[in-house]
Symmetry: C2
Subunit: 226 residues, 2 copies
Amino acid sequence: MIKKFTFNSQNILNELPSCDREFLENIMVDKKYRKNQPIFTESTLPSGIFYMQSGKVKKYKMDNDGREQIIYIYNAGEFFGYSSVLSESSYGDTTVAIENSVISFITIKDFNEILKASSSFSRLLLKSLSHEFSVLANLMAVLSQRTVRERVALNLLILHNKYKVDNKPNTYIMLSRSDLANMAGTVVETLARVLHDFKHDKLISTDGRKIELLKIERLIQVANFY
Amino acid sequence: MIKKFTFNSQNILNELPSCDREFLENIMVDKKYRKNQPIFTESTLPSGIFYMQSGKVKKYKMDNDGREQIIYIYNAGEFFGYSSVLSESSYGDTTVAIENSVISFITIKDFNEILKASSSFSRLLLKSLSHEFSVLANLMAVLSQRTVRERVALNLLILHNKYKVDNKPNTYIMLSRSDLANMAGTVVETLARVLHDFKHDKLISTDGRKIELLKIERLIQVANFY
DNA sequence: TCTAAAATTTGATTTAAATCAAGTTTTATC
DNA sequence: GATAAAACTTGATTTAAATCAAATTTTAGA
């Protein structure tokens, strides 16, 4: 089951033939973003695509009442922002760094060039997008049909894998309560209550914003999702 | 706004260079599916990909309690089922014909071949998947944060565009109440009440399973979504 | 066309989660 | 390290939507 949420995106570029990888590395320009800085905004137009070198970025949609629904969290090794370039339309969502991050930029021109030249690259993008899609589909099924308790449990499991660093034992999630609520599609008060219950049941432990999952198997049961 | 839901998928193959199109047309094998017949099922393995010639197919996920969440409805001119082939994994969702449909099949071998050979084809797939993704993202934001009334309104708008046939004036949606409820992430009883309200407000008219949208602009307002 | 089964609608009641409100803790800045 | 602001938690109340129940309509098969 956990398989669904794991996607070792680290070194994704290694899946490419070396010539394509070198071309990409040459045309990418790095930029630093501090926590809470936006990368692009809903309904503006793209001028290129992005690749996460390090850090984390949230992608969300805002509704008319200002509530945000987080759609995906990008981790090191993932491309993003290419959908609007492909459809030649404006951005349908907003992305904001939730940690200090280093993000590479590729211009539309260069992107189109490599897309045309390298079937490996387009396959890589298709694979990534398929992955994002399946995460979103799973999430949607849970968000629209299940209780807040189940929704929070599922999001904790997804985040656990995002925050997991290979070869390091102590994984903890570090995210504001409001981001967590916006992922689970609930409000902060309800989220606080659910986390309280999970702590009481010894499924998680918290220390400020740090959340550690103590009993993953039990959380999977709570999420009612395999 | 409506732009978001429209995607003239008719003749999508015409976007391809003629050589690619001809190759595809040669390797595709047509098959008829009657209403309610499944095309593939969650957690089985793919042996190829599909292209809708005519009809409609729902894609959904089932949870442990048997509730289904409809993720997308495929119309004529759309490819589907390729994500699992790309990620070399089992299907993450189930697809069932909701109308009598004609669906073409392309084997994994042929699919990989054209994917490698034609950058236009992979670009086409990326574009389609991006579109599906944005529809899903919009939907998720609405499903997880908004009232049932808003959710139903949005889904009616999406369906309206799915059922619209170019050059024909009288568009009506034709779908079971339970499919509609499963799209909006609610139960049939609640759905019936919302449709009743919409009828009372003269936003829609119904005749058995046929639903006609009378005031699209007002429905967009109700959906609270632009 | 008739009939049984399935689907849909309507009503009454319960329940999960949002909202409102107030207090407490954590974070960031001087 | 003190202080203000922001973030978070807990409690009380309201509300939207699910559930339970039953009647009515539609659909499909003989």
